[in-house]
């Protein structure tokens, strides 16, 4: 790494506070280039060194990957050993790095069959000036359009989790774009061809700390985002039923709520507040998706319990989306091995813990559904959302609850044949075959992919499931999907990368992006995996030094006012707490002292 020192770019925050939407565009145009990673300063290219292959190892593929120490771009080898998939790279300065990539070679090979690549974007926000991943914004070579755009509404947080370096006090600045700024960012995020993003996640920090969060949702809707979700711990929602109602009325589609386990030991972040938040969401008729970060040895013994919790509250919980931990910062190999868990490991544990109710075969990679997009595109000649992310990024299944029995969708839908058929028909349409003939054939064939005798009862009646597929594929009537979602739990996984398992082939296919204050769209695994070049650099440039923030906005917006203090006694004695966890955990077996200790260890003070 070169030692040249470069002044980090910054924007005069006083200008930002008063700027119009148009002003933000011109400010961004001036600063964007300075914010891009600089070769020789921020990173070097060292693709010449071939990582070795040792005895007992089977080569799978090469890729590129960043050095966890100096960010040099290295050639990396993906290989199989002992039934698992590994990644190895050698930095000329920092030596060899080896990391588990996927915990199951067989599943890796099955998932690989489902890879589809996107059509890319024809309106890049940055010119192609560097190799991936040092050119993010999106650049012209990016392969997938955004499926979900993340907007960081603030880096303030009411918690101070011990592992987090992101929140304002630790970062030393407050990043909180004004409403005009947000409108500019959202316009920029939507300025895309051939497919405009329609799904937005408002995240933080803790976005509910913003008094104008409802306005942000409204702006997002005005700017064309049809799906808006808020990513939160739910703590504020637990205490503020009005907020849930207002967010829903403004157009929020779903609350994406952190949920790391069913006990205080595994989920000290919001174990006590989740029941109250869910009740308030019920009142507001706002669905929730539970989002557990999975850490080996910490909460991986509660995976099925978390799904059971979701199923117990299926009236309001639409999904559980597991996120195997991404290891941030420099962590020694031994320590990494203690906490590292991959998608197949998580899948295997769910199979064990559910005693086979959800099996390994029930999971499919995200791009599995791409043939549906191809088919509808070929019929309508309109660009559809294509989930062309890398096959190793995520997995999903749907669970149906049928009189207490859990039925994964794969038990009654032949996913492989169905998707294969749609792909074949899409290709026929592309070749110019008469669309009415294809539609007729498809209609007649739909029933062949469904085994109604094994489907949940409500989908069996009057061949509801086949009719639903017909409505979606043939009539493009998506309203019937609402029925599909009733009593259905989406269970997904998304393994965000870190510098140890970093694979540039995944970055190039990423479809979850962050819109930055200068209007770029940065893939999740660049934004958060190389924060010094993306997240932190751009947010610091547009941030307000912490002391200035307090001076500007007063004590009311200082951490002493908004940091959360938990009254555990009150929370565990409430009826919603018992009602939500009953049948999932033995509530009375947890001593009060354990509750308090768990919260304090995590960094959340307890008051009585």
């Amino acid at each position: 790494m070169a030692t040249e020192t470069v002044t980090e770019p910054s924007v005069n925050y006083k200008k930002l506070l008063k700027a119009s939407v148009e002003d933000f565009a011109s400010i961004a145009d001036k600063v964007r280039e300075k914010l891009l990673p600089k070769p020789g300063v921020d990173y070097t290219i060292e693709l010449g060194e071939e990582p070795p292959l040792r005895e007992g190892e089977k080569h799978i593929a090469y890729t590129a990957s960043a050095c966890p120490e100096c960010l040099a771009l290295l050639k990396a080898r993906i290989f199989e050993r002992d039934g698992k998939v590994w990644i190895r790279k050698v930095c000329p300065r920092h030596g060899e790095f080896e990391e588990i990539y996927w915990g199951d070679y067989e599943l890796y090979m099955r998932f690989r069959e489902w890879q589809y690549d996107g059509k890319g974007i024809t309106t890049p926000h940055v010119p192609l000036v560097a190799l991936c991943p040092y050119n993010c914004g999106l650049c012209p070579r990016h392969k997938s359009h955004p499926a979900l755009v993340n907007l960081v509404a603030t880096n303030r947080c009411d918690l101070s989790c011990w592992y987090c370096f992101f929140f304002a006090e630790r970062a030393g600045y407050v990043y909180e774009p004004t409403l005009n700024h947000i409108r500019y960012m959202l316009r920029s995020a939507r300025n895309l061809r051939p497919y405009k993003a329609i799904a937005l996640q408002i995240t933080g920090g803790e976005p509910t700390l913003r008094d104008d969060l409802v306005d942000i949702v409204r702006i997002a809707k005005e700017e064309g985002f049809t799906h808006v979700q808020v990513n939160t711990t739910g703590i504020k929602l637990a205490y503020d039923p009005e907020l849930a109602v207002k967010l829903r009325q403004a157009g929020t589609n779903v609350i994406y709520m952190s949920f790391d386990g069913v006990t205080p030991y595994t989920n000290a972040k919001n174990h006590w507040e989740v029941p109250y938040a869910l009740d308030n969401l019920r009142e507001a008729k706002m669905p929730a998706v539970l989002v557990p970060t999975v850490v080996k040895g910490y909460n991986d013994h509660e995976l099925w319990d978390m799904i059971r919790f979701g199923l117990k509250h299926i009236d309001i919980v639409r999904g559980v989306n597991f996120q195997p931990v991404s290891i941030t910062g420099r962590v020694p190999k031994k320590k990494r091995e203690e906490v590292r868990i991959t998608i197949p490991d998580t899948i295997k544990k769910i199979e064990e813990q559910s005693e086979g109710q959800v099996k390994r075969e029930d999971w499919y990679p995200v791009p599995t559904v791409v043939p549906i997009s191809y088919f509808v595109e070929a019929l309508t000649k309109k660009q559809m959302l294509e989930l062309t992310t890398h096959f190793a990024c995520g997995a999903a299944t749907y669970l149906f609850l049928d009189d207490g029995e859990v039925i994964p969708i794969t038990r009654f839908v032949d996913v492989k044949s169905f998707m294969g058929y749609l792909k074949e028909k899409a290709e026929e349409l592309e070749r110019g075959r008469n669309k009415y003939l294809v539609l007729l054939e498809t209609t007649l064939k739909l029933g062949k992919f469904v085994d109604l005798s094994r489907a949940p009862r409500r989908l069996r009646r009057g061949k509801r499931l086949v009719k639903m597929l017909y409505n979606v594929l043939v009539k493009h009537d998506y309203s019937s999907l609402g029925e599909f979602h009733y009593s259905t739990l989406f269970v997904g996984m998304m393994h965000f990368q870190d510098l140890y398992n970093h694979d540039v082939a995944r970055v190039q296919r990423c479809d979850i992006h962050y819109v930055t204050p200068d209007g770029r769209l940065v893939p999740f695994c660049s934004f958060n995996v190389i924060p010094q070049l993306y997240r932190d650099r751009v947010q610091r440039a547009y941030g307000i030094p912490f002391e200035d923030w307090v001076a500007l906005f007063g004590e009311e917006k200082s951490p002493t006012k908004y940091k959360y203090r938990r009254n555990i006694k009150k929370l565990i004695s409430g009826e919603p707490y018992r009602r939500h966890y009953e049948g999932i955990i033995d509530i009375d077996s947890i001593p009060y002292e354990d509750h308090v200790l768990a919260s304090r260890r995590f960094g959340i003070p307890v008051v009585e």
Binding site: A61, Y62, T63, A64, P140, H390
Partner: protein
């Protein structure tokens, strides 16, 4: 004299996706309404030093990046051209063998540099001849050549 580089490659990959692609280029000099095919003056192995050039040419057209290329088996050569001062534009036609169609890349030549103007996939020469105001028969004969 400005330099220009074209790339020949063949790749066969399976991770993350199966692809077998062969691509070779022809480079034409456009001056006025005259097109003339250029011959390379040098040839080198395609190494990572040309990774960015590779991405510039094929990242947004064939949706193939250097990382895709090296992921599996591949061969690659880089051809160097000396651009005659009379050239106003360079046209690079990349013929691919994977699916139908070619890629057309157009560059503007200034003193000592060559700047990419546009890139697109083409199925027929009609759109190209219209865009460049060159008789499509001339283009056809050159490209067939």
């Amino acid at each position: 004299m400005a330099k220009f580089y074209s790339i020949f490659f063949y790749m066969s990959t399976s991770t993350p996706r199966r692809r077998k692609v062969r691509a070779e280029s022809e480079v034409y000099c456009l001056s006025g309404e005259k097109l003339e095919k250029l011959s390379p003056t040098g040839e080198k192995a395609l190494t990572h030093e040309y990774a960015l050039l590779f991405d510039e040419k094929f990242g947004d057209t064939l949706h193939i990046t250097y990382v895709d290329l090296i992921s599996g088996e591949y061969e690659g050569r880089v051809y160097e051209y000396e651009v005659p001062p009379r050239c106003e534009k360079l046209i690079e036609v990349v013929k691919t063998r994977e699916e139908e169609g070619s890629v057309l890349l157009v560059y503007k030549v200034a003193e000592d540099s060559v700047r990419k103007l546009e890139s697109r996939r083409i199925l027929g020469l009609g759109e190209v001849s219209a865009g460049l105001k060159i008789d499509s028969e001339i283009l056809k004969s050159l490209i067939r050549h």
